[in-house]
């Protein structure tokens, strides 16, 4: 008999690999009896769905501002390198 811990592992691994027939049957039987693990499976589905929708190609919904000092420093580095480029090409 699977414990909830085992079942949660199989539910997780089922997102990363194909479960064996035996594992699938064991899991299905456990889920049939266990409301908590059915909720866990649903939560995992929700999480994955929400992440995929929120991510969309890596454009994050949140913007953490680049600190001013860092921006200044990077601007100087970019300036230096832009000049290097034009010097070496002429």
């Amino acid at each position: 008999m699977l414990t909830c811990k085992d079942a949660s592992r199989l539910i997780s691994e089922g997102q990363d690999r194909k479960l064996s027939q035996r594992e699938k049957i064991g899991l299905r039987f456990h889920l049939w009896m266990c409301a908590s693990c059915r909720l866990f499976e649903k939560q995992m589905g929700h999480l994955r769905h929400a992440l995929h929708r929120g991510w969309s190609g890596g454009d994050l919904p949140t913007d953490k501002p680049l600190p001013k000092e860092a921006q200044e420093r990077i601007r100087n580095v970019l300036k230096e390198h832009s000049n290097d480029g034009s010097n070496s090409s002429t």
């Binding site: 414990t3 990363d16 939560q43 999480l47 454009d59 913007d63 953490k64 921006q71 990077i74 970019l78």
Partner: protein, 189 residues
């Protein structure tokens, strides 16, 4: 003279790149460095930028390569006893164990999340995801991000990070339990 093109990239995309980098490396200075490295690489490769992709996407693509390099390096570093990663792992293993009783049942009742995504804004949800990711061990967070956000195949992740599939499954199980626990605590407390 008006500001140069790379400086404009910095103005317009600096913060987006920085947020992206920070989510992955969890360190402000490292994230700043990655933004700089990305813009320098972009400057060098600017002829290769095709106008048909958005500039943001192109820059993010370069940044992703740099993050992957960093992940590879972190993952391949020989584990030393008492390394910070080990301490994280131990704490995480304890936290995961707390999910279950000795007989392997859930120690706390689970909540029905239902269609609850609609109950909070996209920004709220996302900042919570960031917060929960930051609470995972670096190892677990790396794998979770590559699988669930970058949507890389399991085999590819194992190859890139030089880990076994078993290691990946175990760590992702932990990561998902950790994310679940954190979300439930913060959303439905």
């Amino acid at each position: 003279m008006s500001i140069s093109e790379p400086e404009r990239w910095l103005e317009e995309h600096g913060s987006a790149l920085y947020s992206f980098a920070f989510l992955h490396v969890r360190d402000e200075h490292r994230a700043e460095d990655l933004v700089q490295e990305t813009l320098l690489a972009a400057l060098k490769a600017r002829e290769r930028f095709q106008g048909n992709a958005s500039l943001r996407t192109w820059l993010t693509g370069i940044l992703k390569h740099k993050i992957m390099d960093e992940f590879r390096r972190q993952s391949r570093e020989a584990p030393t006893p008492d390394s910070p990663e080990d301490a994280w792992d131990a704490a995480e293993a304890r936290r995961v164990a707390e999910n279950f009783t000795d007989s392997g049942r859930w120690s706390q009742p689970l909540t029905n999340w239902g269609d609850s995504e609609q109950d909070f804004s996209r920004d709220q949800f996302w900042s919570l995801i960031e917060q929960c990711l930051a609470a995972l061990s670096p190892r677990a967070a790396r794998l979770f991000v590559l699988r669930e956000l970058w949507e890389m195949e399991t085999e590819e992740v194992c190859k890139e990070l030089a880990i076994t599939p078993t290691n990946l499954w175990t760590t992702l199980h932990r990561a998902r339990l950790g994310m679940r626990q954190c979300l439930e605590k913060n959303l439905y407390a």
